[in-house]
């Protein structure tokens, strides 16, 4: 259970991260605000509590690894990395500009906390499996966390990786599904039905937990229980809301693409303040 103080801290941090993310996107007229907002609580939990990482020593071999397999959510990741000391504020100013340093999909830069290049869906879990396998071989205790989108589960390679991870008992691997129910052209249920999603993962040999992906209490508790079962890879199906945190963006497909105009920006800032 979180104390009231902790709850206040994390709630205000999530508003701060959403505001930063909004500013990044508004300033550069970038897409994917909805996909960024749905993962804010998950990223905060990882970067401020769960992951064993250190911005002073980013190459530390025993660090936990995080892969944002849904690379398009990176405006939220960059905001978090800045807040956590991996990126300077100046660095963030060079997002999505000519001669910049950060793109609209992340490039590998371990020094600044980005472990893997992502942006093409369906790559991250296999790479995470390789890293988790190496950890097991080297008898290292670090864990590998891979955050996937729900639309990404349409990719066959995800399920190739899922089968392999279960066969090799990678209980140091944690897949997190940002289940916001919307993919690029509509609701997931109308495009490729993912349900029954939890049963899919468990039938593939994974240990699965379903949580509210915006509820810090549930998120911390679930991460704290990894591995859910020994010798089984872990999947957290996080029910989230696309565009979470700004009322007029919530559960709206258009915010996969649209960048807020001046009025919308002001309204969003008000809601997040």
């Amino acid at each position: 259970m979180l104390t009231d103080d902790e709850r206040d801290f994390y709630d205000s941090l999530s508003r701060k991260i959403r505001k930063k993310t909004l500013q990044l996107i508004y300033r550069t007229k970038s897409p994917h605000i909805g996909s960024s907002f749905s993962i804010v609580e998950l990223l905060i939990a990882l970067y401020f509590k769960v992951l064993n990482i250190d911005p002073i020593n980013p190459f530390y071999p025993n660090r936990d690894r995080f892969i944002l397999s849904k690379g398009h959510g990176c405006p939220a990741l960059y905001s978090i990395l800045e807040e956590r000391g991996f990126l300077s504020p100046e660095y963030l100013l060079r997002f999505a500009v000519n001669d910049g340093v950060l793109e609209q999909h992340p490039n590998i830069d371990i020094k600044r906390g980005i472990e893997v290049t992502t942006g093409s869906l369906g790559h991250g879990l296999s790479i995470g499996v390789g890293i988790a396998l190496a950890a097991m071989k080297d008898c290292k205790g670090y864990k590998v966390y891979v955050l996937l989108s729900d639309g990404e589960l349409n990719e066959g390679s995800v399920w190739e990786a899922a089968m392999f991870a279960a066969k090799h008992k990678l209980d140091n691997l944690v897949a997190i599904i940002d289940y916001n129910k919307i993919q690029a052209l509509g609701y997931t249920k109308d495009i490729v039905q993912l349900e029954p999603l939890t049963q899919k993962w468990t039938s593939f040999g994974w240990s699965a937990m379903e949580i509210d992906g915006h509820n810090f209490g549930q998120i911390f508790k679930t991460f704290g229980n990894v591995p859910f079962e020994s010798h089984k890879p872990n999947v957290i199906i996080a029910h989230t809301i696309k565009g979470k945190g700004v009322s007029f963006m919530e559960d709206k497909l258009i915010w996969h693409y649209r960048c807020p105009d001046d009025n919308e920006y002001k309204k969003a800032i008000e809601e997040l303040s």
Binding site: I108, E115, V116, T117, G119, S120, G122, H123, L125, S126, I127, G128, V129, G130, I131, A132, L133, A134, A135, K137, D138, G156, S157, E160, A161, M163, F164
Partner: protein, 310 residues
Amino acid sequence: MRDRFFKVIEDLAIERDDIYILTADLGFGLFDNFRNKYPERFYDIGVAEANMIGIASGLALSAKNVYCYSIIPFLIMRAYEQIRIDIAYQNLNVKLIGAGGGFTYGLEGFTHFALEDLALMRALPNMTVIVPCDPSEAQEFARLSYDYNSPIYIRLGRNNKPNIHQQKPNIEIGKGLILTRGNDVAIFSVGSMISVALDVHDILAKHGMGVSVVNIHTLKPLDEVLIKRYSDEYNAIFTIEEHYISGGLGSAVAEVLVENSYSGIFKRFGIPLNLKKTIGNAEFRRNCYGLNAKNISEDILKVLENKNTK
């Protein structure tokens, strides 16, 4: 060729415990020794090439030296996008060892041919592209590959018979290997077509012509210095490869020749893009497209004669 290649890797693995071999469920018998000796460093990923490339990337990001094996179209075409981003763009230490260059799997049919692989792999940044021509070359490249700290694609295929090299060849990645020297014609060739090029040399010798045959075992980085020198020294240059005529060795050489203002005769021998619907083994199929010493020699003589009568 495959056996000799992986025997070297197996021997290297005694002292180098970072060597991993991954296969996408192919190579029956090929890895038995390695698998018995180092079961913890051998993975049959299953029939899942995209996943294999991803896992290889994860292992390479964790300081492992990874060799991935499959039949070429499955290894590099099914998983091309994974190779493009995870391996080439991130410049990871993964070696892609493909079996079945050209028509090697003749009677198995079109699904198993590798006729576009050189073009595809040559297009990738950070990727080195190598085609050994016989077992001793394959063995040398296996040795060199271990310390080569960036991605390599190695196209294995049918052995030239007899072997091209009677002793250990002096191989350097990125340097063409001059096999014969003559003053009239230069032939750049690669892999399974080296023996054809050498036979062309013999046939043209009977017509009083001196032919230089160069083994361009490394398509990328290409030995541009050597090709430029030849473009200054020769007025007739040919390429022979078991690959579509577009994008492979012939295209690579042509790029250098044109940029060097070469104005002599140039012709590429390879497989035309209008594939015939014939069935047969590798040799039969090559003959369908005139990829043999007799046809190529006749073509070369014709081209030279036309030039002279103009």
